[in-house]
Amino acid sequence: MGRAIADEPRIFSLAVAGSVLFSLVTVGTAYAFGAITEHVVQPALKRDEVDVAALVSAGLVVLAISILKIIGILGRRLAGGVMAFRQFARYRRRVANKLVRLPAQGRPTGDLLSVANSDVEAAWFIIMPLPFAVGTVAMVVVAIVALFVTDWALALFGLALFPLIFFMNMLYSSVLTPRTRTAQKLRGEVSAVAHESFDGALIVKALGRGEHESVRFETKVNQLRDAQVSVGRIRGLFNPAMDALPALATVAALFVGVVRLQSGAVTIADLVTVAYLLTAVAFPLRSFGWVLGELPRSIAGWERIRGVLDASEGPAPGTTPLANNGQPIRVDVKDLVLSYDGQQPVLRDVNVAIPAGKTIALVGATGSGKTTLVQSLINLLKPQRGEIQLDNVPLGDIEPASLSERVAWVGQSTFLFDDTVAQNITLYGSFSEDEIWRALELAHAAEFVQALPDGLNTRLGERGVSLSGGQRQRLALARALVRRPALLLLDDATSAVDPKVERAILKGLRSGVSETTVVLVAYRRASISLADEVAYLEEGRILAQGSHDELLATVPGYAAVVTAYETNMAEAPS
């Protein structure tokens, strides 16, 4: 909270000023009505004649009061809103900035998204009622003092009522918060069940399990219903109670007022003032409840934001540019050790030398470390020990911009942006249309892109849903190829592509326009056979490196992995 005030001191002061003005005017209204009753209305009624000057001034006072009140509201609400919305934007920007630069931190996407969305709102929403609450403090103080000045007996009602409302509010929040949290959690669960069930619609239908799924969904829905009703009950009790309290106080004050009137301690005008005051002050007091109720949510949100913002970004990026000499890159991997959890190493002392311009295939069973190795080559993963050199420059020293200019990586799961085909390929780079088409042809994607409604300018749906897996992989490949990389890393990047096409693509790469060093991870034997050399991995170690034939003859593990395809695993065009 203090941080927000420090971020936006001027706006906050404006909001508080508006709120204080509003508060004072609210108390003032009660006294104005009292005064008008005493000096204008009562004399007029008693004498049965109108003092025009007094009447006009009374009207003007009332008008002035409401204009002041509106100014207060405008100041408080507008400034409070602006402040909260600026905080939302400020922290969303910071979170997004961090997320873009930092690896996924091992947290699910939905989780990170909610930090950028609901956690930011939860943390700063409290800013909106805050000035109101501050102003209300002023109002309560002024109101109690004013009440005592009027009459001590009547003042007791204010003294009793205001704290009571305040505590009721706190009670309300503490009772309601866990219930709303439960409901919120259940809402998430209902959504999860629906999502999963529709995701698996085919299997649900194929096995005729619609009824079973309905029951599963209904169970959750009914739990949500019960939680909602429980929230509703609390609200249904507290809200009317909070209305009833000031009303009861007003009625009681009226009675006591009449008694005091008999003893001459107060006037009729005082009575009007007090009754009005008790009614008018009660509502703003509830703003405390909002602030207090928001507080736990705000703190939780803030902690989650900090969790993202404080994550370490690792060593500073390198500054040595990678020479752009148009030549393929040589890769040397020396004693590389990498572990995700700091204990179980995924790569253990990996040593590989990849001569410039060669194509090397990484082969190994699932979990042998192929993907980890490839991702370390482009600095997506940082090894614990050992070193990777590109053209004899340590990877950590290389300036990131020059690295991505010369090295291209295509991962196992394709990612396409919700944008046009062209934008997905150029990714903010400047390439001519000819260059794009050439890359598409090389990736065997030109044909289907031409068939798209708007060709290169066709917008792909979210994450490329409108395309088949193979088509998406080919676009991702074109994205790498258009850059004419000096080092190309293909991590099982053509797995969903028709084997015949895959082979054609890889062949095309070898006779491609520019000389490129290629590191590829593949399962299909046909793909492996296109490599100049094979590196065979087993449990995070390079067990053998050499030509396919050599390895086949000398390494039994390699032979087992590769020949597994040969017997009955040959694949048909799909």
Partner: protein
Amino acid sequence: MSTWQSLKRGMALTPGLAKGLSVAVILALIATLGRVAVPVVVQLVLDDGADDVSQAAGYAAAAAVAIVATLVAAYAMSVQLVKVAEGSLAKLRAMAFRRIHDLSMRHQQEQQRGSLVSRVTGDVDTVSQFLQNNGVFLLISVAQLVLATIAMAWYSPVLTLLVLAAFAPLIWILPRILRPLAASSLEVRKETGDMLGAVSEAVIGGPVVRSYGVTEQVGATIDKTVRKVQQSQIRTQRLGVFAFSAGELAAGVAMVAIVVAGVLLGVGGKLTLGEFTAFLFLVTLFVAPVQLATEVLNEAQNAAAGYRRVLEIMDMEPDVVDPGETGQDLPPGPVRAEFADVSFEYVSGRPVLTDVTVNVAAGSRVAIVGQTGSGKTTFAKLLTRLMDPSAGRITLSAVPLEQIRFNSLRKSVVMVPQDGFLFDATILENVRFGRLDASNEDIELAFEVLGLADWLSGLPAGLYTEVGERGESLSAGERQLVAIVRAYLADPALLVLDEATSAVDPATEQRLARALDTLTHGRTTVTIAHRLSTAEQADEVLVFEAGALVQRGHHLELVAEEGSIYANLHASWRASAHAV
């Protein structure tokens, strides 16, 4: 559909809602009595009770009773409203959920999955939240407005008219603020969606973003969306504050009118001091409803839109219907399938399958081959009645497919889809989905029979291993294994398999092949084949191209037909398999 029409449709679907709401309306009227009680007692005390303590005590006591009664009635109303609303909405969710599952693949494919989910979650939530947060306020506000007006008119019709006149301009002004306000809040929601989309791309596509060095550019794109959200939030807020202030201004004008006109009337003997003061109190009852109206109407529009989207689902007629009572059961034993001049086209009219006539003999193994988009998968979906053909006739063991009871059909005919979808649960629960009454022993036995016992025992918790969201803790090949066991437990007479295309690691490939072999044994099996061996070992191969069945026969016969589509397919197949 207009807002009103969707409301009527919705009420008809959830009859409890309408009945419960009418009770709530009556209670709302009672609930506001207490609010009018204070001004009334102010008037009574000032006019009659000021000199008489016991009379004042009586008035005060009566008012206190009214206030407490109000409290009770308001509580009862809230609970009633929430119970009825939540109960009906829960039913609505369940109905919509069921309807979505009852729609054929044809409909389901045309909807975005996320949008289907939001029909039963977010869309219903908007209605629920409206009723919980604003519904109660709306009812009380309206009732309050009515009662305050009645009380005012009772004291002084002239002054009441003046007050109403002060508020009258709002009828003109408010819609002019509310309409852009509604549009503006819609904008906020849309832009928030865009922002989240941009952030999620940066997160999911993180490796691509970083490895292609476009961090700055992607960051700038997100910045732009964040700024847009901020701007429209501020714009929305500004409109809301104006509407709020308009109510306050009208109240101010009304009070000036009361003071001036009240005194003038009072001098004429037409208004007492108490009545005058009561008016000042009653006017405040006008302000709150006007100010709430801005929020309430906005939310009401959202809720109506959400309601409408749910009703759209309910309005879709399921096109693949269970014949139920009037249907027949499949005769026991292996199933024979016949297609006679079967065609299928999408709702858009795009033909996918044209005039397919074919017999699948009972107990035979049939492989279907063809390029992507040749109609293979459609053939499989028609065969399992996940969709109905646009023309032609399909029979299973001489019974027309559409006359087979779903109970019998889904028991005897099972499709194993390509992606091997699993639920976020244990392997045990996923496999049991194939036969709900299978015991743990049955399931363990199934793994053993299919030659997967060693694989299962290699998992961290065996049958109790959690497979993760969509089964993603397992590899693609392992998901297939679980799907095969699931199908084995279902024990169908006709099995339709869609082979996976993506390459999986060799050890799993071998297990898959062995398990499939056992699974298909003794059943009529139709396989969408992506593997050469499947086609080679099939009793018959069906070759599809461009939605037509172009070749059929045994692998060896088809290969012999030189220059035929299958011969070409096979040649390229062999080339890639034996390239080394």
